[in-house]
Assembly symmetry: C2
Homo-oligomer: 103 residues x 2
């Protein structure tokens, strides 16, 4: 019976995920503060898009999509393996070949 | 020929993604600063895990996995649809000044 308990406590990923869950609200608050700094620029951009495209543009959703995408891209700060270097994207000097690989 | 050009310029997602790409380095820097605040606690945790589990625990990788997971969970700050409400843990009340000053 006890082995069940110790198994879960010695799973490195589980242990770290428990800590992550504990830290998440605090992290979220700080991440939100970071994104709040960009709110004005994102808001202007979606208003601009709306003017160019039309009233059907859902500005709030577009902003949230952009923020989620930024978080996804920020994961590259913490690459999955040592071998996989952080992408050159961080400097944003893309060559045309790179463009072709973009989804 | 021109329609091709205007098509790409009026794609709301593309427009916003271009802006996102421009802002990403600055965002990354700020996000990294946030995570740096948690480095010590994460480092202690993985050292602890290593002591309990064994030398084979790859501490750096485990920390990066945890950071990526935290970014993934932070996406819930920006839910995909209005209907899907953000989880209770992210409803921050600004007027709780004491919370804001907690490290």
């Amino acid at each position: 019976r006890r082995s069940h308990l110790s198994l879960s406590y010695t799973d490195p990923r589980l242990s770290m995920d428990l800590l992550r869950a504990v830290l998440q609200p605090s992290l979220n608050q700080e991440i939100l503060q970071v994104f709040n700094k960009y709110h004005q620029i994102l808001d202007r951009a979606v208003q601009n898009v709306r003017e160019n495209v039309g009233e059907e543009v859902q500005t709030d959703q577009l902003i949230r999509d952009t923020c989620r995408s930024a978080l996804e891209h920020a994961k590259l700060l913490f690459p999955e393996t040592e071998v996989k270097k952080p992408p050159p994207e961080v400097t944003y000097k893309r060559h045309r070949e790179d463009e072709n690989h973009r989804a």
